[in-house]
Symmetry: C2
Subunit: 198 residues, 2 copies
């Protein structure tokens, strides 16, 4: 007869369903939470509930926010004529970390992927098209450099170009610090295509 | 101005404090929880609260349980004359998985480690000594094969031997499937010492 405690097993199951967390790690995390000082495990539970209740999509860019509009869309310091289209809220965080981009975002919440049953209608394209007016000068496609990311970027650019909007795509190439030797041939080919004068 | 959402940041912070979870993984986990179907994030939060409220130490062996006694201590099918001393509830799960051990456990909740300020009085030694009576025939030291684990096993055996209790220690040796070539010299030395006749 194996030893088991129902509330502990349930907590382990909950951790084990998180992405990238296996059975053993889930066990370690569950026991860690059990051993937290008084009140802190409750704080963890409360954070989950708060996040779920308070966070929703920004009315403009569909990024996650706890207000009507996200801090980027609501800022007068940002350049609202340049929209950067990304697939995921994490991509916004990644681009913000560069401190290079001063425009605004649009979060698709996915990429077109027929294999997973995700078509254009599952993305936030309607909201994107609703934002496009004379004040928008450029839409930057910043979806991932995957087949699905490329297809999504292509699909959107075909929607926007007839409207007279300039569509651009992030550059492909060797990652900074990367060795030529270790770059795959597709990346290297794209880097050659995209070479610039020095 | 960086994009940030307070409830999301707090949730990411909570995940990031878990052992082995870095900042990026915490971000991924927090967004995964946010995207869970209605009610399931609440279920996760509830599991944390339930586990904290319902789980406590078994009155006999100090293992985690949601009842007065754990299922092992409460079972008539287990051999209550053999006590296996481990440092952590996870070790009980590991030994149960072997399906070889039919005795009962005692969970120390740590090992003696002066560097971390953990002395014998922080462990559940008082509860272990209280369990020792004429019915106990053997105490197996199953603490880890580390300096602290060894020291703890040695400490406990010195307490129990004068009481006429047989104390044993898990075997040291080459792990099954392990190659001699890759075994460190200390393990190999212990494997030689512990060799058995064929």
């Amino acid at each position: 007869m194996a030893y088991s405690v129902a509330p502990l097993s349930r907590l382990i199951d909950q951790f084990a369903r998180l992405p990238g967390i296996g059975r053993k790690t889930a066990q370690r995390l569950a026991l860690f939470v059990l051993n937290l000082p008084e009140g802190e495990a409750e704080g963890f539970a409360r954070c989950i509930l708060d996040a779920r209740q308070q966070i929703h999509r920004c009315a403009v860019c569909c990024n996650l926010t706890d207000e009507e509009q996200c801090t980027v869309c609501g800022s007068a310091e940002r350049d609202h004529s340049t929209i950067c289209v990304v697939s995921d809220p994490r991509d916004v965080l990644a681009i913000e970390r560069t401190r290079e981009f001063t425009g605004v975002y649009h979060v698709l919440h996915g990429v077109i992927s027929p294999m997973d049953g995700i078509g254009p209608e599952q993305l936030t394209l309607k909201q994107l098209l609703a934002r496009i007016d004379d004040t928008v000068s450029e839409v930057i496609m910043a979806t991932g450099a995957t087949v699905e990311g490329d297809a999504t970027a292509m699909y959107i650019s075909r929607l926007l170009k007839p409207m007279g909007i300039k569509c651009t795509r992030l550059a492909y190439g060797i990652p900074v610090g990367g060795d030529l030797e270790y770059a795959d041939e597709v990346t290297l080919g794209r880097a050659l295509d995209g070479r610039s004068e020095m």
